[in-house]
């Protein structure tokens, strides 16, 4: 029995159906990430798990119990919000202890858990401050601390890093990964950033328009995408898609996909194009090549140099080509 089970969960707002028959089994201790473009329903799904929205139909089970009818506070979950959502008029300590107080825990238990969480998140010096007196990163840690003290079955993270600047985001990402290792609690995490998903997740659930496109480990999704959406969404820079006719593929193949890092540039090659732009990143170089009216991204390792406007050939191993049919499904 997994720690979270979704069975045919559907959600509609009035006439608009936003989630279609979502089924998912999450194992104990797993770090699972919902990823997808904005409006794909990932946050709604998280809110249904939390109990902040009702599922129109289907079952939500947490730790083997059907929780559809339980209020959020009794589902054994804790949630970290994108905007932190700290209580502005309460100190850090009270922010963290409010949930336990509501649940009727004894004062000693509350003290102990808050102290432990504060130690772990390095919040001890700030316990008597109010949220307004903290920096963005500290507020984020308080929000995580508020979730940790509840000792839930399930952590829910709703885009927790999107309000932080780039440097802090990397740090906090590592902190969340460490937190997961230390606590061993199941985490369900929502993000639109595929890099976050790739670096943190045990398994990724790719959502689009309220459908699950594919579920798998980051490398499974990267190496073996089921369809054109997952192929294009996972990986950075994104996969290039070209007309299959360029390679003389059979009629059943409509589109071919090539990862930027699978292409090398040379004088000759099965596909030819002209260099349009170069991005030097130091460790590698992104080269944009015009092939017909498409712009192909090529990622060269190290510092490569090409003249803009020069004609080049694109080379790649035959097994690096992904093939998709008209409906965008992968042909294996």
């Amino acid at each position: 029995m997994g720690s979270l089970t979704l069975k045919d969960v559907c959600k509609s707002f009035g006439q608009v159906e936003v989630l279609h028959n979502i089924s998912l089994e999450v194992e104990e201790g797993e770090f699972i990430i919902f990823v997808g473009p904005s409006g794909c329903g990932k946050s709604t799904l998280l809110r249904i798990i939390a109990g902040l929205e009702d599922a129109t139909s289907g079952d939500v089970m947490i730790a083997g119990k059907r929780v559809n009818a339980l209020p959020p506070s009794r589902r054994g979950i804790a949630m970290v919000f994108q905007t932190y959502a700290l209580y502005p008029h309460l100190t850090v300590k009270k922010n963290m202890s409010l949930g336990l107080k509501q649940a009727g825990e004894s004062r000693a238990v509350i003290e102990e858990r808050v102290d432990k969480a504060a130690q772990m998140l390095e919040l001890a010096p700030y316990l008597d401050r109010r949220p307004a007196e903290l920096s963005g990163g500290q507020r984020q840690r308080v929000a995580i601390g508020r979730a940790v003290v509840r000792e839930p079955e399930l952590f829910l993270f709703d885009e927790p890093l999107s309000n932080l600047d780039a440097a802090l985001r990397v740090n906090t990402r590592i902190e969340i990964a460490e937190l997961h290792r230390r606590l061993g609690t199941t985490i369900v995490y929502v993000t639109h950033d595929q890099v976050e998903a790739m670096t943190l997740a045990d398994r990724i659930v790719v959502l689009q328009d309220g459908h699950v496109e594919q579920v798998g480990s980051p490398m499974e999704l990267y190496n073996d995408p089921d369809n054109i959406f997952v192929a294009g969404f996972i990986g950075s820079p994104a996969m290039n898609f070209l007309d299959a006719a360029l390679l003389g593929e059979p009629d059943s193949v409509a589109t071919i996909g090539l990862r930027p890092e699978a292409i090398t540039l040379g004088d000759d090659g099965p596909i030819r194009g002209t260099i349009s732009h170069l991005e030097h990143l130091g460790a590698d170089t992104n080269i944009y090549v015009h092939v017909g009216d498409k712009l192909v991204t090529v990622r060269a390792f190290g510092q490569a140099d090409f003249a803009v406007g020069a004609e080049v050939g694109l080379n790649f191993a035959p097994e690096a080509v992904y093939r998709f049919d008209k409906g965008g499904r992968r042909i294996r």
């Binding site: 939390a50 506070s73 949630m79 905007t83 700290l86 209580y87 949220p131």
Partner: protein, 279 residues
């Protein structure tokens, strides 16, 4: 440099306009105040002159405090104003929370219905209100006034407060729900503190018309026991003889409590505690 000078000029113009407005607005108040401390003769001879040792007199205040039950009128006005404000804010905020927070059938319609009161003056319904109060035996009670003022204040309160409550972070309320707070606790402990400045605005808007109203006290509660200050002051204005000393002194005294209430609410207006609530 050019820019600085330009700003200075703007600043001077803005200040000139504001000072001019202040003088115009305060002029009648100051006239009332200085004349309330003068003898009757001096009021008519030199109405613009501040009291001198010759013309200084407290006769007006003496008359006011002796004649009629002035302190009692004061108390009535205060009870009516504070009571009405309390119910306007309480019910207004609760209705606004429901309208802004919950999705239910007819939400928009309900909001429109509640806002219609802004456009229709409650005095149009005076006759019906009087009949209703007679039927329920509420004539000549302060409760009648409080009920009427609460009803007339609610539409604008709901309209303003629901707009502000929509701006309160949804995540904050959800965080409260996950922590196990009841909807009432979320409303009173999380949302109300965050919209306090808006509630102070609503209070100030409603307070002064209620305090100054003559219409409803005259119609619904003209009895001696329930007279409000504005109504009580009318005894000094006669058809043939008006005791100007007493009228001016009474009005001067009537300014004080509203000023105190205003100071209390305006501090709330300025104090913003929302910063840092959510990023």
């Amino acid at each position: 440099m050019q820019r600085v000078r330009h700003n200075r000029l703007n600043l001077a113009l803005a200040h000139a306009a504001l000072i001019a407005y202040t003088i115009i607005a305060l002029f009648p108040v100051v006239i009332i105040l200085i004349n309330s401390f003068k003898t009757r003769k001096a009021i008519f001879r030199h109405p613009l002159q501040p009291p001198t040792p010759d013309t200084f007199s407290l006769i007006g205040y003496e008359t006011v405090l002796k004649q009629g039950d002035y302190l009692h009128y004061f108390q009535n006005s205060l009870i009516v104003t504070v009571g009405s404000l309390f119910f306007i804010l309480l019910f207004g905020a609760m209705a606004a929370f429901a309208l802004s927070e919950y999705r239910f059938r007819g939400n928009t319609l309900m909001g429109l219905y509640l806002a219609i009161g802004i456009m229709i003056p409650i005095r149009l319904g005076t006759v019906a209100i009087l009949q209703f109060m007679v039927a329920t035996g509420l004539v000549n009670t302060l409760a009648a006034l409080i009920l009427v003022y609460t009803a007339s204040g609610l539409p604008l309160a709901i309209f303003i407060l629901s707009e502000f409550m929509r701006q309160v972070s949804a995540d904050l309320k959800d965080a409260g729900r996950i922590d196990g707070l009841s909807e009432y606790r979320i409303f009173f402990r999380l949302v109300v503190p965050l919209v306090r400045p808006a509630m102070a605005t609503v209070a100030v808007f409603n307070m002064i018309p209620i305090w100054n109203d003559l219409w409803f006290p005259l119609i619904l509660a003209p009895g001696e026991a329930t007279k409000t200050l504005t109504l009580g002051s009318q005894v000094f204005i006669g058809q043939f003889v008006t005791n100007w000393n007493a009228v001016l002194s009474g009005l001067s005294l009537a300014i004080l409590p509203v000023m105190i209430l205003y100071v209390i609410f305006s501090r709330q207006l300025i104090r913003g505690i929302t910063s840092g609530a959510v990023k």
